[in-house]
Each structure stands twice: as structure tokens, then as C-alpha cells.
């Protein structure tokens, strides 16, 4: 694959989506405002818990920092997971999927390019949670930012693989995606976005094992260990290796399934249907 051509195609998608976004300016400002409102609300809720932090949960000594990290990272993870399926679905509804697939573009390029703008947006909006916390509510982060970034990227790649599987469902079944239900609702509840995952074990016993099969649990734990507890590479190897194993299994599987889904849609002549 010619790398210049590959980049040119990704740029085509980013430029297209940027222009489409510009045609909906109001939506952008409302989203920024809603993030500010959420951060402010969480700041006041966190004040209820001042001085009551359980010493067992070291990442939750400052609940506002834990929540903001959780929300920022969850937003990024969910983008990784849902962007491709959303892009495919949108192209189906608009009727543009056939026109895109009519160009000499490969399956991996479609995957990366369709999601590219969503990642640009997610990077911006996720960083807003952290920036608003730092700017207005005195939230400070420490540790190795590069290591945190590595966790972020690794988890995002794993979720992108699940997103590719999800997009395959959108391609064939058009609606009804089991991964969306499982990961969308599951991550917020079981991955430790709003509370420590250990609490699930204390109150709901075996249900806590659900959090162990969700990749965001490891990504979020790793990022908080680095940014809030200041842990280094040797201390975060366990979640790092787990995420790598997820990636090794899911990447080839998801690409294979997506290729099969496109073939099936072409066989059924249903690329344009939704």
C-alpha cells in the first residue's frame, strides 16, 4: 500500500467530516457547554465526599480526579468502539456507502479513514474534561504521561477491534448490535468509571467477574495508576499485558469478520440498504 495515498485518503475523510461538522456549528458549542456543566456538577458532588475517602481505594482519594479521568477515557474508548459502526450506519442511511466503496479503496483504509475524524473529535472533547478540571477546579495529575498515553492508545485499539466487529453487524444486520449493548451499558457500570470495581465484588459477588472481561477496566485502571497514583512501567505490566493479549486475538479476528461482512453485503446487494 502506498503510504502517501493512504494518508491522502484518510485526509479526505477528515476534511469531509470537518466540513460537515462546520455545517452544524451549534451542536459543537452545545457539546462544549455540556462538558463544562458535567465537570461543574461532579465538582460539587465530590465535595460531599471530602474527608470520607476509603483508604483501600487509593485511586479515589480525590473523587473528582477519578471521575474526570474515567469520563475522559470512557469517551475516548467509546469512540474507538462505536465510530466505525456509526460511520457505516450513517453512510448507509445517507446512501453514500456504495459511492465510497465504488472507489479503489481497501477495507483497512475504509476502517481507519471512516473513524479518523471521530478520534480527532474525541481527543478534543476528552481533553476538555481534564482541562476544565485543571483550569477551574484545581485537579492535578502526576506521573508518566507517555505511559498513560500508551494505555489510552492500546485500549482504544482493542475497542476499535470490537468496533470493527460491531460495524460488521451493522453491515449485515443493519440494526441490532450485541456488542453495542454489552459494551455501552457494561463499561459505565463495570469498568470503574464512577466507582471502584472492587465494590462490585463486595456487594454483588460473582457479578464482578464481568468487569474482568471488559477491556476498558484494564485501560482505565492503568491510566489511573499512572496519572493519579504515579506508578511506573514495572507496576502496570499486568493490565498492559492483558490489553496486548486482547489486541492479538481481536485484531485479526475483527478484520476477517469485517471482510466477510462486506462480501456478504455485496452478495446480497444490500450495501445501500439500512
Amino acid at each position: 500500500m502506498n503510504p502517501l495515498l493512504f494518508l491522502r485518503r484518510i485526509w479526505a475523510f477528515v476534511a469531509r467530516d470537518w466540513r460537515l461538522e462546520l455545517s452544524y456549528r451549534m451542536q459543537f458549542f452545545l457539546r462544549v457547554l455540556s462538558i463544562l456543566i458535567v465537570v461543574t456538577t461532579l465538582f460539587f458532588i465530590s465535595k460531599i465526599f471530602t474527608g470520607f475517602a476509603d483508604p483501600r481505594f487509593s485511586q479515589w482519594r480525590d473523587p473528582l480526579a477519578a471521575w474526570l479521568t474515567g469520563l475522559a477515557v470512557l469517551n475516548y474508548f467509546m469512540t474507538g468502539f462505536s465510530s466505525l459502526a456509526n460511520a457505516i450506519r450513517q453512510e448507509q442511511v445517507q446512501g453514500t456507502l456504495e459511492s465510497v466503496l465504488m472507489t479503489p479503496i481497501s477495507v483497512p483504509t475504509v476502517i481507519v479513514a471512516s473513524s479518523a475524524w471521530d478520534f480527532v473529535q474525541a481527543t478534543f472533547f476528552s481533553s476538555l474534561y481534564l482541562v476544565f478540571g485543571w483550569l477551574f477546579f484545581n485537579v492535578h495529575y502526576q506521573g508518566n504521561f507517555l505511559l498513560a498515553l500508551a494505555f489510552l492508545l492500546l485500549t482504544t485499539f482493542v475497542l476499535l477491534c470490537l468496533g470493527i466487529l460491531s460495524a460488521s453487524f451493522a453491515m449485515v444486520f443493519k440494526r441490532g448490535d450485541p456488542f453495542g449493548i454489552f459494551l455501552g451499558a457494561g463499561s459505565a457500570l463495570f469498568s470503574g468509571v464512577f466507582f471502584p470495581t472492587q465494590l462490585i465484588g463486595e456487594y454483588a459477588g460473582r457479578v464482578s467477574s464481568i468487569s474482568r472481561i471488559l477491556p476498558p477496566t484494564y485501560g482505565l485502571d492503568g491510566i489511573r495508576r499512572v496519572l493519579i497514583e504515579g506508578q511506573g512501567f514495572t507496576q502496570v505490566q499486568e493490565p498492559l499485558v492483558t490489553l496486548l493479549l486482547f489486541l492479538v486475538v481481536l485484531l485479526p479476528l475483527s478484520l476477517w469478520v469485517f471482510g466477510r461482512a462486506i462480501r456478504r453485503a455485496k452478495r446480497e446487494g444490500s450495501l445501500i440498504q439500512y
Binding site: 491522502r8 459511492s99 479503496i105 446487494g269
Partner: protein, 358 residues
Amino acid sequence: MTEQPSSSPSRNQDRSSAFSVDHISKTYPVPFLRLKKMFRRKFKPPVEAVRDVSFEVGEGEIFGLIGPNGAGKTTLTKMIATLIQPTSGQVTVKGFDSVRDDEDVRRNVGLAGAEERSFYWRLNAEQNLLFFARLYGLSGKLARQRIAELLELLQLGDLTRKRFAELSTGNKQRLSVARAMLANPPILLLDEPTRSLDPIAAARMRATIKSLTQNHERRVTVFLTSHNLAEVEELCDRVAVIGRGEIRALDTPRNLKARHTENEQVSIMFSAPDAMEVESALRAAFSIQSLILERSTAIDAWLLKFSRQNEDDVLDSVLRVLQQSNCVIRGIESERATLLDVLESYEEEETAGKEEGK
């Protein structure tokens, strides 16, 4: 029964092949048939959209595909464009297989579909084309240059900055043709390219299509589907008639019409000193059963009507008799079968076949 095309018209002997369709069939599968069988659910039988179709299109040729709605025209076009995979058979475009080498096929083919919803409605004409040009691998500068050329060629120059949603249906269609031509592909698949155009714009579009195939530096091959039979007749070197997924006939428009009926209706307008004498002379000279002579008061002349076989010498003989009778010929009109007659005859055949099958 499928009519076999005459003396190998499925292949254009004079030109090298641009693409070929070899025994392709398309059966739309029943979704999740195994699951349905497992749960013993009732299911509709699979739909056979295209059945054992074969032909070859030569470089620089304009090849037309006509047939009633639901005959399989769009399915066939999409199979050539790699958007639908054939159930069996093979489509080869410039030596590339449409399933195995689909990216290479798409590099050689531009498709202008009849679907209006294939652009981004909130982007303007230029932004839309720029996006697709980049997907075809054109650099920014080259893409803008090409877009400007195409918008000019298709008389869309003043609509460059207009949002797609605000364009008229005809202009949307022209934009679709412009997109198909972006990467300068050697093969254009045009699905009803003049459907929503006004008569002048349609005539210009036809001239553009014709000129593309006549450019000796880079001859473009055009595969055209249309319900406008006069347009097909005007443009196409060869035409295939498709019905219920099968090719019913394939030949030049002239041969198709000739195959439909060998007769031609001729009307001669003339003024004569004594028309009765002329009629007697004609009846004495020929045994034309259908000869009719009538007075046209509107033009103050006589009208002689008769039918003759294509390219026989009856017309020449009739003209001689008229001249010998001191008649002044005012005008001659001949009426041959049109592609509509051809299409209607195949539809009648099809309907009769259905009735028999009941």
C-alpha cells in the same frame, strides 16, 4: 425461451475487449437460510435477478442495455462495478476479475448511478467531488483542476459552491456523471444518465458521451442503461435487450429493428396532372397489396403509401413510374420499426410465455 444473439453479436469483432461478462448469474440469497431451516420457518424462494448473461464490450464502444423495470439492468451494472458479487460466472474488466481484483476493476471503472442519495447533502458540489477525487488518489491540485474541467464540461461551472441539497435533480445527476469521470477511467457505466435532464441538457449530455468515445488519444468505453430508446438508438453501437434477467437479443440497433420487422412504411407526397392515371400505372407495374393513394387537402398534394422490404428496389421503381407520369415529388418519408417496437415484441413474448406457464 432465451433467443440466441445472431452471428456472434455478443462480441464486438472489430475492437479489443474493454470488459466481458461471462455466464454470470445473480440469485439473491435468502438471508440466514440455514437458521430459518433450523427453526423450520417459512421462507420465500431465492430471487434470480440475472440468469446466465454473457457478452463482451469493445474499447471505445457505446453499449446499451434496455429492458423493462426489474429486468436486471441495475443488478448487472452493479456487478460490473463490483458492488454486487455474481452468484456464478465471471466479469473481467481490462483483464481483472471483478471479485478477486475488485480494487483494480474499480480503478478502471466509473459509475454514475441513478440513485440521488449518493452525495453528502450539506457539502457543496466542489467539496463533494474533492472528497471522491482524493479517494481516487488525486492530489489536491490535480483534483481541483480536474473538477473545474468536469464542471465546465457538464455545464455546472456556476454551481460549484452550491450545496448538493440545493441542486436541481438534473444537476445532481450531472454531478454524478462528473464524479464517475473524476479519475478519467477507461470505462464508464452510466445508469440512465439523462433521466432527469431537460431536453437541451439531455442533448448536450449525449453529445458529451459521444465525444468521449471518439477521442482517439483516450477512447472511453460506455455501458449505458436507459429507458429513453431514441437516445439508445442514437448513441449505441450495440444494444442488449434484457428481460427477467436474461439477454433476449443483442445486436446493433439497426439489426435489432430489422430482426423485429423486415418491412418499412413509405409515404411519398407528389403533385400530378392526373392522379388516377398514376394509380393505374403503379398497379399495372407492381403487385403491391398495401398501396394506398389519398388526397391531402392540407398540402394540396397526393399521398402514396405502401410498405416495402428493407433495402429492396421497390422504392426506386415507384419513383421512376411517378417521374414518367410527370409527377413532381414533394417529399418522401419512411418509417421503420423503432427500438420501442422491438422491446414491446419481447415483452409480449414474455407475457405469452408467462400465460403458457400458468
